[in-house]
Assembly symmetry: D3
Homo-oligomer: 237 residues x 6
């Protein structure tokens, strides 16, 4: 049923390349099939003004797409003069998700910025971004410990994300672009390695979905995310 | 356990005042307890450029807060020169949700803009906005039929929204500000009058939530939304 | 002669509702006939940078219209990315007028921001805003005294505003939209309760006006403003 | 009493240099004492979108100050990314005033843009701008007639502007910077050569002003504007 | 003398990977040592407004750096709300250079957009961008011919670019970051495969340079560019 | 061969008027034929944030064109909401060039801002700006010494700029608009009074240029700049 011949629960090959670029404290190329995102983690001393004086750190994210990462060229947001609503929504999701992975008190008054830049898009760029950013974050935390900036490990648990959806009436996992653009429902799920939920965002693109379909999608997500978290761990081993 | 003395599943008093202002084709003041939002529906001929020539209509939404709708004054977005990420995220959600309530083909090449302006905020402004905007939309559609702009009713089903969450370890419904700001998890649910889902957005603010808590929250939402949809229908009767 | 049947000097019913919303230190709904504006006064400690170190306070204003406060929907300024020239001009006028009502030295290094948001427009929104903002300001000053922030009352005099104009060759008071859009001349007058002028802004929309017409309009304004100031005082009693 | 030794009703030397720059259809350097403004009138075929199809023309204005036209350097508005409220207010005033001088029907579907750029500021830049722009406009209309673009003269009457104010308790005319910054009241008056009013904008900077002071200021303005209009006519002779 | 041990005239290893991403009509990863830039060429029908009706095509470029392509993270221009002066200057240079490589009449009313996004920066990003963009452009032109969009080849000649400079008093070729930041003079040269010049941009960073040094740098550039053009041709073979 | 009848190496009459406006520490009207630019130098204490604590000064420049300095009116950049790429490129060039004329250590923690505003354009506005700004800078430095702000003269050498180009196949000097718009190559050269180069920016507008033509243009520039520097010195004498 799926254009790629995958089974409903089958995710695409996921590949994680660490140290992809030279300068960042964490730098990962994450690939979910043909979706490719560069995720870097940058460490800076200090926190934004609204966090000052709490003795806690901050984690934030920015997301962008290269103009020709897509089938037809999309506008360069820097040239248009602002980030679109979709980009803002995605980077808020990435930032929120990664903050939930870290104990900000142990991080101390340091900021980690996660930049997720899509160089090739084929569906699932936000979930790939979260998955890759988590690995970049772990590398940055390791760097901070090696430099004596941190005395303990602030990581509470690995997190990863996957998209699931209802496509031709059936729940499927890790939608590629051709499925995504035809899906009745699209849902992004962020989960911890301990099997708990960080974010669930389900949207009916066409027809509303039932509470039963909701459950099926969650089940698929849980299954796929276990695989993805194993791949993250292997990459970090 | 709840500051207001409400039971876990009890929603706040919901009030819907139609024809709240004079000029709009639909104009509703919606109140969920102390949260008050003016929702107007404006009808214009034609559709945005990206929809032209499809013979379909368009529904879009914009959301804002009066600067002093909140406990401490927030910046006026017009003065700052751009809408914040939160506003964009919310108005995208409102627009998407209402589009899912309407058959755009029957709407024809007309646009309905839903403006949701919060005049007093006490938690749940986005779900109140969706709930009120749906009633304003129905009034605008009635207006269009009365003017002969529409030959059939494009409404597929009423929709409404409520927030649910995990507060002090327990699932509760329709969080007010004081609960919202302390909740471990916050989830917004948009449902049709036929009991199907349009949007589910759950976020762990502090601790991750379990699949069981997810189910409990969904159950509470379903229950609360049935009440809210009854109130919408009574207001429209 | 007037569409409403009013006499030339007759102002519309003016209504002032205090404590209209919950959070602001002063919150007023002001109505001049069908024109309705929410005016809030927000108190914050400190002053803008250019006022620092003078031992004086600051009063500023912001003005906006809900997109569908008007007959046809106007753009949301936050979405367009800037306030239009008309909004800036009006909020500068409101701020200037209210500053003239207060002794900034007695106010001390505190800022009061007056937000005037039009929820329904039928002519005279700027004069209604000034009139309502003055009442909200008085409530905020009372709040500040009750909290011990102020030791003396910085209010020098109440102020109010009304529009006058030349309509079909005759001077009239408090123009509603239908008159305003056809008037030859439009003039806004801000006056103190002691009968002195704060601002006079007269504009020939079509034909120039004579010095005699100027005098007639000023006379009408003086008369109308005495009534309006009485209504303010009654509301505050 | 006045720093310059001028009498209360005495205006500064006013000088008008036509053809100041080469490319514009009208180009004037106007000087009120040490205030110097370049005013150009640019003719373009067609009108802005909101005027299309009415068979009428349009006149608009833009105003700016060179960054070092003032005692201390002010920001370049182009670099800051927007025009300030003061500039917008002034250019709206200039445009409105000049539109009132012209029969837009006779102008036909043509646009004249008046650019007023202050190269040296010493008080009264907006009134100097209006005065100079009117002469540039006349030159542009003459050009249009000579090119056969216009068959009749759309000019209804010359206009000019002057500032008046209350300074040390006395009404004075044509305030220079040192007076302006200390004045209790500042008023700008735009008048036609036929002695009728186009705009009156009076503002209490410190103390409110009485109706009598209002009359005195208007009288001074009328007197000064007769002189200024004579100077315009001499320049055009 | 050089940190890398290179001779004065020795360029870094240059590598050109075609078809680096999937969607663009031309997609190249260009590497000059540790400087890595993704260059894509996107073909669209039609031309910008200012070119319409001339029967000619258009070539334009946009340039950006991933925030962590640099040693310390630089701001994301999309988030700051505008492209900096440096980016604009560079993309204008890239666009101008590539337009000089193509006969716009033969291109017909089509637009090619060259996006150059730096993923890792080590000096010479603008010259690497031009060099890579030329190869992406050739691939896009080949695509257009294969699709029948073009009947003839609009390429007039290959172009390439290199930086040269004065470092520790001596002319050197293809500066890496550590040299660039210490160089007295920095010069970028764009040359055709026929040995003619398209752009020369020399800047004294510290001390002015002599006409003799100018000649030496041009000589080095000519030599380096011959090598680079050979590498372009080999990549395209 | 040249429209003006000038010989290939002949520059236009250059005129420099000091103290052109009243307020700036240096104020120059520079004219290259019909190109007229007002250049002011403004002195402020302190330096921008990125320069703080180095004990060095800063020199920066801003450039603009009055909307009707050109044959057809160009947009006012302040109204469009941003400076165009061309303006940014030019002001970066002016700032860089003037910084190269000054010993920033001797300048101390002071900033000089050079504003170059074109009031009439006929080609070569950027080179006229640099030439005039250098004289304004010298006046500002003299002012600073007279006020005791500087103890020594930070000027290392005068600088000046001229444009050269290839027009109808021949190298010519100081192009006016009609030549500039038809030139095959356009090159701007900034030189010190000691005959060394600060900036060389050559661009093939149509056909690429040879290394020989490059040399010819540099030779013409050197010759013209000697004359221009003599005129600067005479103006300052």
């Amino acid at each position: 049923m799926r254009p790629s011949g995958r089974t409903a629960s089958q995710i695409r090959p996921v590949s994680i390349t660490r140290n992809f670029t030279a300068h960042a404290e964490g730098s990962v190329l994450v690939e979910f099939g043909d979706t490719k995102v560069i995720c870097t983690a940058s460490v800076t001393e200090g926190v934004p003004r609204f966090m000052k004086g709490k003795g806690e750190g901050w984690i934030t994210a920015e997301y962008g797409m290269l103009p020709r990462s897509t089938h037809t060229r999309c506008d360069r947001e820097a040239a248009r003069g602002k980030q679109g609503g979709r980009s803002l929504e995605i980077q808020r999701l990435i930032g929120r998700s990664l903050r939930a992975a870290v104990d900000l008190k142990i991080l101390g008054e340091n900021t980690i910025t996660l930049d997720c830049d899509v160089i090739q898009a084929d569906g699932g760029t936000r979930t790939a971004s979260i998955t890759g950013a988590c690995v970049a974050l772990v590398d940055a935390l390791t760097y901070m410990r090696s430099k004596g900036i941190l005395k303990a490990n602030p990581l509470k648990h690995m997190i990863a994300a996957v998209s699931v959806g209802i496509y031709k009436g059936e729940a499927i996992s890790d939608l590629e672009y051709i499925e995504d653009s035809a899906a009745e429902t699209d849902m992004n799920v962020v989960m911890t390695e301990t099997g708990k939920l960080i974010e669930v965002q389900g949207t009916a693109e066409g027809e509303p979905f039932s509470f039963e379909e909701m459950s099926e999608m969650l089940e698929l997500a849980k299954h796929g995310l276990r695989e993805i978290i194993d791949i993250q761990k292997a990459a970090l081993a």
